[in-house]
Symmetry: T
Subunit: 150 residues, 12 copies
């Protein structure tokens, strides 16, 4: 049974309480619950880590080398600044999908650039919490492709 | 039964024959066929238009006002230059999803900017032909949300 | 009796139905009707072409060499990107007035630059459909000036 | 009877004597005379102020709050640099039309940007002294529109 | 008894009447009155000058050399463009505090840069009319420090 | 009795020992002591957190939602780079004042931009340790204003 | 007998009548006639397409896959803006030579960049209509080189 | 006997008292005295105007049309920002020499650009008060050249 | 016996396993072992800290004030973004050498800038693990120079 | 019999031995031999100069004024930096053709700009050593045109 | 008797024959002759060096350390690119005056920046060959000032 | 016995006499003497070339192909501008180490970029004359590595 890491970055722990007109009213726990169940329904085990610490996110990525088959990451604001996360994704070498709740290209200019994007396989954004489910669906697809095609 | 327009821009008619190491070996017909069937399985009718003409893409968007409930668009190279398409998507006012076969953020710098992105609800890229299926899945989700939430 | 071409670019066919809080509620047909009658009252024949195709706009400009004495152009989004239209206006060599419904300098930054402006005699923007009438009035003035002053 | 302020900025007092191949051979007095009469013919009283002092132009704008219904401004070189004039137009809150004798977009790059444009309703440029008459005509139109439409 | 110059730049004379949702509803006279009384309560004499003329602001700064011990300046829009004011503050050599009613960093990009900031000791912005009182408080602190620490 | 969080970022723990010609010779403990007493004198309880970890600063901001009425933040070098802190301040939603010991606009260019400024109510910089007292004074003012005015 | 496509973009149909001081007095028909004969003398069949429509140029490039051995392209103004043409040249995969009548590097800055250049084998510009003959000569050379050297 | 205007801009009235390590210890009066006498020794009458008001400098330039044969200008900080002065020099049409006390290219970056330079015949900077004498010497040379060579 | 801190930043813990074609196949432990022994042979004690946490790196730098005589730092990706590390190195005040395994100037553009470089004495990059030995050698040299020469 | 200078810049003496996958395996001597013979066959005498010294290239251009009728130049890396060569070509005033072995627009960004291009009649690049023959052919064409057409 | 080096850079040997409408019709020999005599009349010996080689100009600057008291330099096109000349002027340490025949600020943008200017005492440009005489006059002034004032 | 070229660029011949506070008081001869002896102690023959001529540096690099096994280069100011040197290093193909006396990243911005860096194996800067010894040590390491690892 394949296993994937769902990694959430800074401020995402406030989901549901933080600016709901932008990010929606569902809490992170509820969203993770939904994603975990959906993954399970596709035969995938999903483990979740959230941290506001860039270093802790890197540590979690490193640890994933020992157990995970793929990574879904919403790096929050670190998306736009963290070369260290980019390097970590590259170094870990697992297929990685970048996710955002909002359409980052319709927001402030400093959110238009994703520093980690070139290290990821694909990108899904703008569908609110549903973005996570789409990413799980996409990961299921990637994991059943022969390795050399990823 | 909701109906959606799948719109493909310049050079996508060559899919399967053009630089398969970048874009994959499946033809556009085969991909559209798969997407149509997948849409059908979700109770959605999908109609397809492809053109190399920016104006024809705009015309198709305008026409969609009369019959469609949503739009999935892969604007190809016009993604990066066409304010006219951006205006057309805005003017048409239907929920629109931007799709790309490749992860445009891992390619040449001139492909990193999407001019049409701010007019779209969400963005899916990097999963090859599977990006279209994810977009159909996402559109199904959008169309069942109450209108005021879109 | 002098004749002028009124040329409208992409998405202007949707006038009256598209984002009326920005562009007003009058249809393009109604506006052209008003402009035609106003031109007539000044002894000028006005012919109208609208297209969403950049190439078709260039074709119409070329054709105008055979019959027109001046051009009023609202190039829509192509205003900001089309060097080809700039070249066409230069090549045609007729006095040309650039028109916009809105004050493009009070909108998104990408609308602040007009690529075609340096090829035009003058510029009128921000008065809604009335911009067209002012342009007709301005063209009447230009056409009665001795040629070497244009 | 509505009243409008016609405001001319630095160096415009030299009109008719300064670089006539660029700005034309008519003096500012003659132009103002023509504009005043044309306004009168439309039932509008036009008062004129010219100054080379940025501060004096701001003072005149402030004073207009007490008596004017609209403003036509050719801010000359201050067009391209004066945030203070931009603020003044905004603060005064009267409908304001930006005018230029020449097509500023066909001249040196530093003339392509108008700092005051976003505070104005509309923009007319490139028709020589006739630009002022078109602006009077445009103002007549604005002043008879219901207030909430301006 | 130490004396300070309170200098207000362009458009600040309209305070209370100009865009109250941005700048507040209190008039400049009332604010100056409050600041003067507060200064007095701290044993400081405050004199006020307001002008829309950049040159007049420079003249006032020069004159302050003869009588003042410190300067509080809200240069309005000249904040963002006037190297001449920067030079004047430097030349005068008195401790100077920059003040703004609004948080200029939360507004239009052209308000984010203060040309005069590097010539000032400190900066206070965003507290409405209360910014002036904080500046008076800060100046009281600066004036009682031994001169070599300023 | 209102309560505020005083948050200090990286390297500020070295105050008094680090480059005293720039930052002054008083230790952070002494400064916090003074600020706490001054706050108390105004009827405000001040709690202090310092960390060199960006993530720990975010955690402290999140925690403040449960107990604080306002925030005073000197984010040190993270001021210039941390979108995550900007997001955290926005998400927490308490009135926040940005403070700096030095006038950051008179230093290296990379210190001229504050990424967090647009999320704050106001900004005080350049008065050394006294900046903190002015911020406490400003916060006292903000907390007694009716909520809708903040 | 090898066959090549000569593709001319927007406004080139006006050659001979458009700004002859820049582009020369020979018509496009005459130039194509000369190029065709010269190609024939080198044992090459040359077919010509001109269009003002970006989409039609792409269509012609796609069609060339079925019959041509090489492409000579003067994309006119689309040279500077069309990523779609760049993609089309790449996708078609035939050896392509970029041609310009004028030395585009001695003209306006916006003509200095060729978006399509990186997709072409070589570049010839500045020799007026003779540029086409040089390109035919160059293509003759390319077509007789062993395929792997192209 | 030829006559020239010596025009000094903002803050130059403080010469001798302002930052003498940068600008020298001689007062403006003393410098003007020296320049006047030196001009006289070359058979030239020199009249001097100093103002901190941009508008007053423009007025003085305009007035010079009636009596002067040449202009020497040290525009101070307006050198770097005033398009209005550039326009005024152009409009006046007299041979104009730009002077600076310091080498502006060895100072802050914002002093490296002279907006008025392209309107002047020549440029002398870096020789302290002696720059004025060199400019008088240069003007004497210009005024004895046949007019068409200027 | 002098003591130095060897500080390694994010992702360097993966050395030997991460992209060995770029970073080499030796593990961090082995490299540190070699550097420690080499330092010992030069009469220097070397202590090593690695962390993926920017804050932990700053803490380690602060702690070094109590025991170390010099610092060798490979800040990994934080090299390019961390003003906080730059401030920490400045604040600590010990001679510091910047080291990189690869030639960062031959890699992606975002690796060309080192934010911390201006706070360091010198820079060594491009020699793989041997870079560390060269840095130890260089530090030995720095530590035997009289203090005022550093 | 017309005479032309073929001028080759830095590192071109290494042709055939330097990076043959980029520049080809033919030596400079062999290429010059071929170009000389081809020129002879067209009735043109070709003289060749190569130098790695920018100054020597300028000297050779100056010397050509005494004997040559045209210039073919491959300035190597100086193409991208040498304003002095640009000035020399302008000063010499002979028709000059810029040549490159490779398509410089498909290489590193710093090779995309040619500083000397605006001083040349035309540009040929991307055809390897054959570029020189095309340039000789083009020069033959230029030299038989009436002088005023060049 | 003080001695100065007059150093002329690339292409200045062509003076009088090169683009006389820009640079004048006098040869370099004649200009140097005039400058030498004028220097002599002021009690200064002037020696002249011209070279098109950047390295030779540096060599001449180095040599001047042994015999010269000051330097007048017209570095031609190297003015805009040569950091090596900037370093050489700095290293030589003699008072240096930058001279240009034309007003470089009224020409192409790439001539607006002088890389060597910050290493020079002053700058004289725009007076044709007379610029050299003014520079000799300025040098005479500099050489009689007490050393510490230079 | 391996042999290496030590190449020094412009102004380095002045070492010891030029700005000793920046570059140190040791002459180039003394430094080269030390480096030669150190190389000898490592079994390496070191030959030295210094020139102020860019072309001569390129010539020396080319000549090194015939006899040297590695190159140590301090290109002085050409470091920041010379693409020709970059090309020469690439073309020569020997392992090359870039050296600087000073930490170029702590100096003027124009010294922060090294044009030649991407062609070099590694980079050592900031240790004064000791930088050369470190480079010799590094080269000894490179030369004993198996060739395919360089």
């Amino acid at each position: 049974m394949p296993r994937i890491l769902l990694l959430n970055g800074p401020n995402l722990n406030l989901l549901g309480t933080r600016e709901p007109h932008i990010y929606g009213a569902e809490t992170l726990d509820a969203i993770v619950q939904r994603a975990t169940e959906y993954a399970q329904s596709l035969g995938i085990e999903l483990r979740h880590v959230q941290s506001n610490h860039e270093g802790a996110l890197i540590d979690a990525l490193h640890a994933a080398r020992a157990w995970a088959d793929g990574i879904i990451i919403n790096a929050g604001a670190y998306t736009h600044t963290s070369i260290a996360l980019y390097d970590a994704i590259r170094a870990v070498g697992l297929p990685t999908i970048e996710v955002h709740l909002t359409n980052i290209y319709a927001r402030e200019p400093f959110r238009h650039q994703s520093v980690i994007a070139p290290a990821c396989v694909g990108h899904i954004s703008g569908f609110g919490a549903h973005s996570y489910l789409l990413a799980v669906q996409a990961m299921a697809y990637l994991l059943q492709k022969p390795a050399e095609q990823v």
